[in-house]
């Protein structure tokens, strides 16, 4: 396999973008990435999108987006793995360059979620769970993560305030990210008093409904050294699956797929998790970030709540988690999320992250997951 690097990144402003369509969002982010990379020729593209069919009634997405980007007839594939569609698209692009099949690959992620009502969006997101044995009983995604939270709180004593501290921390970080959907601070008290969605999760525990896109350009490391911006090497890639029905899991308070994906990615990179300078992880709900920090091995099992309370995961802490603001503040256009995590890590490793820059960052990790952890992707990045 060849070494592969990211040489260009692009991301649109995220939010409720009434005036922008699915195709326009994608093209905007892709052109930013192409310009950032300074490349003309693209050999192939991979697009992560969870549910353009349910959100906008549009399938056959890869060819459509290649057309609107002016790149027909290059090969283009659309990849779906629920909320980890972007992370999986990135892995497919990485494999395509590493294998030698293509030299320059554009990986994009996109989701246009506000073309349907909130109720229809909740249904579309719910298809990432087991429709016949979870959805049938009226379960929602906040409901599934709420049940993980109850199990975690019951076993480890994780507190309501600790959940709120995750949201407050990520909004602090997001207030420094001009592309974030919600670039403002939120207090622990405000989270505690916000309206209940699925007990114990409140609206400010939840990532929002977002329109947005992100894109990156990959090429072999050797060629990347001649690119206009400093190359960022993809040092490790890990991917694992688990049951999508939560009830079938051995442990309801643990994310085994994330642990397995992290182990594989770190082994490939020849690194330990504590070698990483920053982490972009899948905080679709506050409890998710707490459980991910445990599964990545940043803290022992059951200590994720304590980690945020002690400031371990803050921007200036030992393990900065979600300097971008995470899904919580930056937004969560599901198919774009995994690609945007890469965009953030690349900006951090280039020293281009502005106010939220982690000083001297040389290595970073992304973790993206689908559903309640039925799929997980972890990637490791190193400067140079």
């Amino acid at each position: 396999m060849r070494d592969v690097a990211v040489i260009g990144v692009g991301m649109t402003k995220w939010g409720e973008l009434w005036d922008k369509s699915l195709r326009n969002l994608f093209v905007e982010s892709a052109l930013l990435a192409i310009e950032d990379a300074g490349v003309e020729k693209i050999d192939s593209m991979v697009v992560g999108c969870m549910s353009s069919g349910l959100f906008t009634g549009q399938e056959h997405l890869a060819s459509l987006l290649s057309d609107y980007l002016g790149r027909n007839p290059i090969p283009a594939a659309r990849v779906e793995s629920a909320c980890s569609s972007g992370g999986l698209a990135f892995r497919q692009g990485f494999l395509e360059v590493a294998s030698g099949m293509s030299d320059v690959v554009l990986v994009g992620g996109v989701e246009k979620m506000t073309d349907v009502t909130g109720c229809e969006a909740t249904f579309a997101l719910g298809t990432a769970a087991d429709q016949e044995y979870e959805g049938y009983h009226g379960l929602t995604f906040p409901g599934l993560y709420a049940m993980m939270a109850v199990a975690h709180m019951d076993r480890y004593g994780t507190t309501r305030d600790q959940l709120s501290m995750v949201a407050a921390k990520n909004h602090d970080n997001g207030s420094k990210n001009p592309l974030a959907q919600y670039p403002f601070k939120v207090s622990v008290e405000a989270v505690n008093k916000s309206v209940l969605v699925a007990d114990p999760l409140r609206i400010l525990d939840c990532s929002p409904i977002t329109d947005g896109a992100a894109a990156v350009i990959l090429c072999p490391l050797e060629a990347a050294r001649k690119a206009k911006k400093p190359a960022v090497r993809i040092a490790g890639s890990g991917h694992a699956t688990d049951t999508i029905a939560l009830a079938s899991r051995a442990d309801l308070a643990w994310l085994e797929s994330t642990r397995l994906a992290a182990d594989k990615a770190l082994a490939m990179a020849g690194r330990k998790v504590e070698d990483m300078d920053l982490f972009e992880v899948h905080d679709c709900f506050t409890i998710a970030e707490i459980m991910v920090t445990e599964a990545l091995g940043l803290v022992e099992r059951g200590r994720g709540g304590r980690a945020v309370e002690d400031g371990l995961t803050a921007l200036g802490g030992k393990f900065p988690v979600n300097p971008s603001g995470g899904l919580k503040a930056k937004g969560h256009p599901v198919g774009a999320t995994g690609v945007a995590q890469v965009v953030e890590v690349v900006k951090q490793l280039r020293g281009e992250a502005g106010e939220r820059q982690v000083k001297g960052a040389e290595r970073g990790l992304t973790q993206n997951m689908g559903g309640t952890g039925g799929s997980a992707l972890v990637h490791i990045f190193e400067a140079g």
Partner: protein, 130 residues
């Protein structure tokens, strides 16, 4: 709206709690599946699930998906049945304040929801405090 066959084919599980027990490792799969998730075995015997168990976790859904809005708020939980099988279902006839991990529950046959005014009426199991 799905065709009635989608609903009809799940009736053995939803009405009669039919699962399958692996002849290799004894694990109960619900719903039945061709390959045992425990040992990879492919031979099973049909079993009816135990009708009681205890809650492993729960929540109260306050923002319901399409088709369940008129029931909200409602409780949902995951229970481990006395035979080791695990199920997700609503928890009914119960004050939300009484929900707790470890609560003893039994399964009852109830209406789940209706597909609009002219569609199929969906039935199945729900948990009630034992």
């Amino acid at each position: 709206m799905p065709t009635p066959s989608r609903y009809w084919r799940e009736i053995p599980q939803r009405y009669r709690l039919e699962g399958e027990k692996c002849k290799g490792c004894g694990r109960i799969a619900f719903p039945p599946r061709p390959v045992c998730p425990g040992c990879g075995g492919r031979e099973f015997e049909a079993v009816k699930l135990a009708e009681s168990g205890r809650l492993l976790t729960y929540t109260v859904i306050r923002v319901a998906p399409e088709g369940y809005e008129d029931q909200s708020p409602y409780a949902v939980g995951i229970a481990e049945l006395d035979d080791g099988a695990r199920l997700t279902a609503q928890v009914v006839d119960c004050d939300f304040a009484d929900l707790k991990v470890g609560l003893r529950v039994r399964l009852e046959f109830r209406k789940i929801h209706e597909e609009g005014e002219a569609g199929v009426i969906h039935y199945g199991y729900k948990f009630v405090p034992a």
